[in-house]
């Protein structure tokens, strides 16, 4: 990973910066210059929430070389309350426990290293949401997210 290519993506990878179309409201993550829905160039930068739900997932058993020691790992498409979708690993859980519809929190993690001497590349991973309040809190949060998606 050459440094410039990594560095340009820092706002979207470190702070979950996305763009919301000023005309149709579509949220693109990572940011886009042209709205994929209506082609407008009127974009507003927003920061996504650090939570979401799993839309679909897989467990990768045969990884690329860079991720050799980490397989098997769960990889999921997660949707945030703003309606943005991202592909992230699901960490800190048994991959077999990942389910479609699962609530997750997004945590800052080391995504990959460029070998022994190259740069370290950071980003977000999903972790199962462990609400501080317990079961009731989880229910409430789930309803809040449903309303946000509707």
């Amino acid at each position: 990973m050459p440094s410039p290519r990594y560095w340009r993506e820092i706002p979207s990878r470190y702070r979950l910066e996305a763009t919301r179309c000023g005309d149709c409201g579509h949220v693109s993550y990572p940011p886009r210059r042209i709205c994929p829905e209506c082609r407008s160039t009127a974009a507003e930068t927003i920061e996504l929430s650090h939570e979401g739900r799993v839309l679909t997932y897989t467990v990768v058993h045969v990884p690329p070389d860079d991720f050799l020691m980490e397989a098997p790992y769960a990889l999921a498409v997660v949707e945030t309350p703003e309606g943005a979708r991202m592909m992230v690993q699901v960490a800190d859980c048994d991959p077999a426990s990942v389910e479609t519809g699962m609530l997750v929190a997004l945590e800052f993690r080391l995504i990959r290293r460029e070998g022994k001497g190259g740069i370290l590349c950071y980003g977000y991973k999903a972790v199962p949401a462990y609400p501080m309040g317990g079961e009731e809190e989880a229910e409430l949060r789930s309803k809040e997210l449903e309303v946000a998606h509707a």
Binding site: E9, T58, V59, P64, D65, V77, M86, M87, G123
Partner: protein
């Protein structure tokens, strides 16, 4: 626009071909087509190839292949659309002939994957490097996500997926050019190693070397080269968002549907008139999604077709009589042309024990990445 025909075909075996280099493969397939047509002259060459630069460090394939074919000087260009590179090469050749600029064009595809490169990483360059591959997504991983979405939407099972592999191997066992010429059982598929859940090793097409070639010319000049041409009635291409996360519906391949609709419109026929089809089964789930998107099976019903025999030889709509990518092999850039070769043979009655009797219309659908590009051709027997 002139009517365009395929007048000759050539193809190497597909497989782990240690003794053959990238250029050897291309020349073998192209030369077979030229010999069959009885010509040693070309107006143009289109080389379909996804990633020779990464697999063997070789770019600039246009002039290289023209040169090694003994045709240095002929206009020759490589075209790329990931795994749809072959289909795009055929489409481009068609357009150059149809518009009147050229009278004999070679559309050939080639890929050399087994020379020791990191195949997983190279194939992943067909997906989104910044948002998918960065996070550890592999090609099988992305199709696994599609599979899971399809399972959630339509109740598709792992066994449904296994039947696609079984059916295609049954066809491939009859194809002497196929990489794998042995049949499989669903048990074998379902107990093969996990690659990315729910996809297992035997749900996935292999890593292959190979090349395929066809010659296209105006229909009214076809008799110079063959008594049995096949007309290209429709050609179409469509794209969709590259990243899976940007798709409208992760369980449906919009690019395949759009390219299908446009090709059918151009050809003036509908899906029900297709007698035989070659469809892009890079993973078993892909065949199911593609036949649904093309309208060869109703949405949600595609999962039954392999098991019931609808898409097998002898069924309602034989799909992948060549063995498909799964059994025949998938040298990426060559696949789109190999599909055309199979249909050329089917529509000229030359498919031997894989023949679909009386086939008049054939359809080839070739896809790039996780469905970010799709090319469809419709052929008609003359």
């Amino acid at each position: 626009m002139r009517e365009v025909a395929i007048v000759a075909a050539g193809m190497t075996r597909f497989g782990e071909l240690w003794g053959a280099s990238l250029r050897d493969l291309f020349v073998e397939a192209a030369q077979e087509a030229l010999t069959a047509a009885g010509t040693d002259h070309l107006d143009a060459i289109y080389v379909g190839n996804m990633s020779a630069g990464q697999f063997v460090g070789q770019e600039h394939l246009g002039p290289l292949m023209a040169d090694h074919l003994g045709m240095a000087g002929v206009p020759s260009v490589r075209v790329e659309s990931a795994c749809a590179s072959g289909g795009v090469a055929l489409r481009t050749a068609f357009l150059e002939v149809a518009c009147g600029v050229s009278d004999l064009v070679l559309a050939a595809g080639v890929e050399k994957m087994n020379d020791g490169a990191d195949v997983t990483a190279i194939l992943a360059t067909a997906s989104d490097q910044e948002t998918e591959v960065y996070h550890g997504a592999t090609f099988p991983g992305l199709y696994a996500l599609i599979a899971r979405a399809h399972m959630a939407a339509h109740g598709t099972t792992e066994e449904d997926l296994a039947w696609v592999s079984v059916k295609n191997h049954r066809h491939g066992a009859l194809n002497e050019r196929a990489q794998f010429q042995r049949e499989l059982t669903t048990d074998q598929v379902l107990s093969s190693a996990l690659v990315s859940e729910p996809l297992r090793l035997l749900h996935c097409s292999p890593v292959s070397d190979g090349a395929a070639a066809v010659l296209v010319c105006p229909l009214d000049q076809a008799s110079k080269y063959t008594d049995h041409p096949v007309v290209i009635r429709g050609t179409a291409m469509a794209t969709a968002s590259l990243a899976l996360t940007d798709r409208r519906d992760m369980a449906f391949l919009d690019s395949v549907a759009a390219s299908g609709v446009r090709a059918f419109e151009m050809a003036g026929i509908g899906p029900e008139q297709v007698d035989v089809a070659e469809v892009h089964d890079c993973f078993s789930i892909a065949e199911i999604c593609c036949i649904e998107a093309l309208g060869l099976a109703p949405l949600g019903e595609g999962r039954h077709c392999a098991r019931t025999g609808e898409t097998a030889l002898g069924g309602r709509i034989p799909v992948n009589t060549s063995g498909g990518l799964k059994s025949k092999g998938h040298p990426v850039g060559a696949t789109g042309i190999a599909q055309a070769v199979e249909l050329f043979e089917q529509l000229t009655g030359a498919s031997g024990n894989r023949q679909v009797p009386g086939a008049e219309f054939g359809l080839a659908q070739n896809m790039g990445g996780t469905g970010a590009s799709s090319v469809v051709h419709i052929f008609q027997a003359v």
